[in-house]
């Protein structure tokens, strides 16, 4: 038991820098996806019917394609390095993971921003803060999903857990390492949820 604790403590710095990558991937995915989704949501709210149709169709595509499948697609299709005016530019796997995770974010953002435009138009004063709340909640979902980046070779926290397991090579510690990493996700989720609770309570007070 003692040795398991020391193992976990020894690996913690590595897991921390891995988790930093999870957060980085998630934030980039949220920013890119929200930008794209905003564009689509605006299209769906636009006056021109043809623009609406395009917005709806593209949103459907973004909503229906699983990020895990798209992650493989991006990993296989985009080269790891490419020529940019004669210069070799590296395209690291974590960027590919962020692009893949931006897909579900785009679908989510398109739906919520479309709703946001409608509600603002109807005079709902807390529409935007409500949007921010669900946006933060979705961020949590994307942080969870960022763990899948390990399958395309991103050295994020689950990938590092797999490395740790390969190094220790003890079936008894394997379970504890995975559980420990699960605790990291649980902890970050709890923190974000507490933050959300505090925010929404302030919001309700402000409104009343």
């Amino acid at each position: 038991m003692n040795s398991i604790w020391t193992e976990l403590i020894n690996w913690s710095p590595s897991f921390l820098s891995g988790f930093y990558l999870n957060l980085l991937i998630s934030i980039v995915a949220m920013v890119v996806g929200t930008g794209l989704g905003w564009l689509l949501g605006r299209c769906r709210y636009a006056a021109a019917k043809s623009v609406n149709i395009v917005g709806n169709f593209l949103t459907d595509i973004f909503r229906n394609i699983p990020s895990f499948v798209f992650m493989f697609y991006v990993a296989f299709i985009i080269p790891t390095e490419f020529d940019w005016f004669g210069q070799q530019v590296a395209f690291p796997p974590w960027c590919k993971a962020a692009i893949a995770l931006a897909v579900p974010v785009t679908g989510f953002a398109s739906d919520h921003i479309y709703r946001l435009y409608r509600e603002i138009n109807q005079g709902n004063s807390i529409a935007f803060p409500m949007f921010l709340l669900s946006w933060t909640q979705y961020f949590l979902i994307i942080v969870m999903a960022s763990s899948t980046a390990s399958v395309i070779g991103v050295n994020e926290i689950v990938g590092r857990a797999n490395t740790a397991i390969a190094v220790t090579r003890d079936p008894n510690t394997m379970l504890w390492i995975y559980l420990y990493v699960a605790a990291w996700f649980l902890l970050s989720a709890t923190i974000i949820n507490l933050l959300l609770k505090w925010l929404s309570s302030r919001l309700i007070r402000k409104k009343s």
């Binding site: 229906n64 296989f76 969870m144 399958v151 079936p171």
Partner: protein
């Protein structure tokens, strides 16, 4: 009557004599080769080789193309008594270059496949063949190649499949020079396993030093390599000359020596071929030599005759260069169909499981919150754990973590499919539980009738949008099961990619397939909602009357 009988007999005799005529033709007429005349006229043999594939064909520091295949090209030129000119080819243009006459001969790390046999003149026998397999420490659980996706894996420098392996398995590759370095890296856990030439690894593991390691998986990417001439030149003097040269290289050990010269790890294939082509019968004649029809006995060749294949797949491949293996390869077709079936089964089971589990959790929370608050609180926290941890990690925890302990202490192995169904049911079921609990509370406030059955039916309808979304999420997430060796759609597509290298085609197929399958499940779930509505409207009328 008599005449027709006579006609029958004569036709029958003609039919019997046909094969004999054919045999005579092949035996006596060795076609003159226009290509060889052409080569002699210009006093130059043009050979297509690779320049990005050390040590087979690459640029050295002086900018010359060198490599094992270049040496082979030089030998053919010597046999013809002409100069050699090398032309750079790539995997995508090599056959076209050969068929349009830009090059006379193709020696460019080309695997011998049935398709290529239809496109160009593959010369027999093969000059090289190999497959890849993986060595892991004995304690490591590794049940399928798909578990290697994105993992750190040791590779040996210069193995011809390294690049394909990295591309097809998205490996975090660590390349080493020698076997000792690699063994150390394996022991320190720098990589999960060592993927290398199968024949070399099998002989290595016979050494005592390696008895704490094992080869858990079958070889992949096994392929004989072929030299090719233009289709029309296959049976001519030119084709025969190349073919004889290859036989000679096998007999004399030229290929074995070249392998050594270029520091290529010794391949079992070359050793076996060397023995095979040197085998003699009691009269001291080689067992493997041309029969009277001009062909080698099939036992001497590594690639047997062509299998039946689908025309449509070949059309796509030849006309559009779209390589979708399930269209022409029966094995990949079966793999893909089984993958689709398993994905649908997994999705449907997990959706049913998550709805049942969600109902159970929702009702339990609802009931327990009156009088047994602390149990309800505990249940809600346990439920949170499943909502707030990534399903991928949960799959690992149960399948590898718990599964490893069970295998170690009780010798009991978890079924990957069952684990996946349970984890996905828990993942979506925990969210469904919260949705239903909230809906039950909301419905209770507005309802006079507190019978649970009625409340639940109302709550289910109210929470339907959320339940629907969670169910669709299951369909999107089931691909994760590929990481624990469930041979579902992503797994099977990946294994086809590993075998055929058709990344773009298989991945595009996956995206399109998933797009429609998600639509299909949304349609089914909407049907379910309508059905629930109808079912629910009857009891409420009953109560109302």
């Amino acid at each position: 009557m008599n005449i027709s009988f006579f006609t029958f007999i004569s036709l029958f005799c003609l039919f019997l004599s046909l094969p004999a005529i054919g045999d005579n033709n092949a035996n006596e007429v060795k076609l003159e080769s226009p290509q060889i005349t052409h080569i002699r006229n210009r006093n130059q043999l043009v050979v297509g080789v690779k320049t990005d594939y050390p040590p087979w064909g690459f640029y050295n520091s002086e900018g010359e193309i060198v490599g094992l295949e270049v040496d082979l090209a030089r030998d053919i030129a010597k046999r013809l008594g002409v100069d050699l000119e090398l032309k750079k080819v790539t995997s995508s243009n090599r056959i076209r270059r050969l068929e349009d006459g830009s090059i006379d001969l193709l020696i460019a790390t080309m695997g011998d496949t049935s398709n290529r046999r239809k496109q160009t003149g593959i010369v027999e026998p093969s000059y090289y063949a190999s497959g890849a397999t993986v060595v892991v420490p004995k304690e490591t659980q590794l049940r399928s190649w798909s578990e290697l996706y994105g993992r750190s894996v040791c590779l040996t420098k210069n193995a011809y499949f390294n690049r394909d392996l990295i591309e097809r398995f998205l490996l975090n590759a660590k390349e080493f020079e020698g076997t000792l370095d690699t063994m150390a890296a394996l022991q320190f856990g720098a990589c999960l396993g060592w993927v290398y030439d199968d024949t070399a690894l099998i002989s290595l593991l016979q050494d005592k030093k390696w008895n704490s390691f094992k080869i858990p998986l079958n070889s992949i990417m096994v392929n004989p390599w072929a030299i090719a001439v233009k289709t029309s030149e296959k049976e001519t003097t030119f084709g025969r000359l190349v073919s004889d040269a290859i036989v000679d290289w096998h007999r004399s050990g030229t290929l074995l020596a070249l392998e050594k010269k270029w520091n290529i790890p010794q391949s079992q294939f070359l050793i076996e071929q060397n023995k095979l082509w040197n085998k003699k019968n009691d009269n001291g004649e080689y067992l493997c030599q041309r029969l009277s029809d001009g062909y080698f006995p099939s036992a001497c060749l590594s690639k047997k005759g062509l299998g039946a294949e689908d025309e449509a797949g070949n059309y796509l491949l030849n006309q559009w260069n779209i390589n979708f293996p399930p269209l022409y390869d029966d094995y990949s077709k079966t793999t893909l169909l089984e993958g689709i079936g398993l994905t649908l089964l997994l999705s449907a089971s997990a959706i049913v499981g998550s709805l049942l589990l969600g109902s159970l959790i929702g009702v339990a929370l609802f009931k327990l919150s009156k009088g047994y608050q602390w149990i309800a609180w505990l249940l809600a926290r346990v439920n949170d754990v499943f909502r707030m941890t990534p399903p991928l990690l949960n799959l690992y925890i149960v399948f590898f973590g718990l599964g490893g302990l069970f295998a170690l202490h009780y010798g009991f192995h978890f079924n990957a499919m069952v684990v996946a169904i349970i984890i996905f049911s828990l993942y979506a079921g925990s969210s469904n539980g919260v949705l239903l609990y909230q809906a039950l509370n909301a419905v209770k406030q507005h309802s006079a009738n507190h019978r649970l059955k009625l409340l639940f039916a109302n709550a289910f309808q109210q929470a339907f949008e959320g339940l629907n979304a969670n169910s669709v999420n299951i369909v999107k997430a089931v691909g994760l099961a590929s990481t624990i060796a469930v041979p579902e759609l992503i797994s099977s597509s990946n294994s086809i990619i590993a075998e055929f290298g058709s990344q773009a085609e298989m991945m595009t197929f996956l995206l399109v397939f998933y797009f429609f399958i998600v639509y299909f499940f949304i349609f089914l779930l909407n049907r379910l909602e309508r059905w629930v509505k109808r079912w629910h409207s009857h009891p409420s009328q009953e109560v109302g009357s």
